[in-house]
């Protein structure tokens, strides 16, 4: 998923003269597994109820209030797991501004990480698409090698990885060519997508 220009996006530590050029998350298709699991989990109370209702010889002796509480807690936990997984996807963001790369990682409630490097540090960019799903839905990983002691960036499961790798290289070469430490990038007239 990419958001460019259309959505007003700001991040902490953004410089005054800095503009977000490209913002991407992992492809939405990576959410399919937890979406399916959530739908299945939502059916569990009904399946349990049907089991005790229709299988002869088994009787569950809990009252209506306890059943209500049990089901409510179950739905709450399912919602929580789904919400947490959604946030994990939503806040794992790869941003390219006219000055630098920013990688925001949200792993869990207890751990999130922000990595960044200026575009002039970009040395090499490679991408890979492996497996049927990645090739079918056109997403993959982009590895960005940076100079110095800055750790390399790996942008995982992003849509159109070859286009993204090309854009990063173009921006980096523009910066190195200008020597100004800032890329000049024209935003498209149709601001929904680049």
């Amino acid at each position: 998923m990419e958001i460019t220009g259309a959505e007003k996006v700001t991040f902490e530590g953004e410089w005054d003269d800095e503009n977000v050029i490209i913002l991407r998350r992992a492809h939405f298709i990576v959410n399919l597994s937890w979406l399916v699991s959530t739908v299945v989990a939502l059916w569990v109370p009904f399946l349990v109820w049907a089991f005790f209702k229709f299988v002869p010889g088994i009787k569950l002796s809990i009252n209506h209030q306890t059943t209500l509480l049990l089901n409510s807690v179950w739905f709450l936990v399912v919602f929580f797991v789904a919400f947490q997984t959604f946030l994990n996807w939503y806040f794992n963001i790869y941003i390219i501004t006219n000055k630098r790369l920013v990688d925001l990682d949200f792993f869990s409630v207890f751990f999130h990480k922000v990595s960044q490097a200026t575009l002039d540090k970009v040395q090499d960019v490679e991408f890979e698409k492996k497996g049927i799903l990645q090739n079918f839905f056109d997403y993959g990983d982009v590895q960005i090698e940076t100079a110095g002691e800055i750790s390399n960036f790996c942008f995982e499961n992003i849509p159109n990885p070859e286009g993204y790798a090309k854009q990063v290289l173009q921006l980096a070469s523009k910066i190195r060519g200008s020597g100004l430490g800032e890329a000049v990038y024209e935003l498209p007239t149709n601001p929904t997508k680049i």
């Binding site: 007003k8 996006v9 809990i62 806040f91």
Partner: protein, 79 residues
């Protein structure tokens, strides 16, 4: 000495056990939901999008519903 196995008979209500278990689960859940809400506030501050307020509301609603269920579970035990 003569050791003989003893068989203890308990007559525990399933409702009681389940309600106590759910109370413990809800206490842990409320703690975790509060952490999630706090984390959401931090993340939305770090990275603000138009959907940020909606996510905050969802996090807060989750915390409030969990607290409501906890109160309901306590009331069930008291009645």
């Amino acid at each position: 000495m003569n050791f003989q196995p003893t068989l203890l008979k308990f007559n525990v209500d399933a409702n009681f056990l389940i309600q106590i278990f759910l109370l413990v689960v809800l206490v842990l859940y409320i703690g975790y939901s509060a952490l999630l809400y706090k984390q959401l506030l931090i993340l939305n501050k770090n990275f603000s999008t138009p959907k940020g307020p909606l996510l905050n509301i969802m996090g807060l609603a989750n915390l409030l519903i969990a607290s409501g269920l906890f109160l309901y579970a306590i009331i069930l035990r008291l009645i």
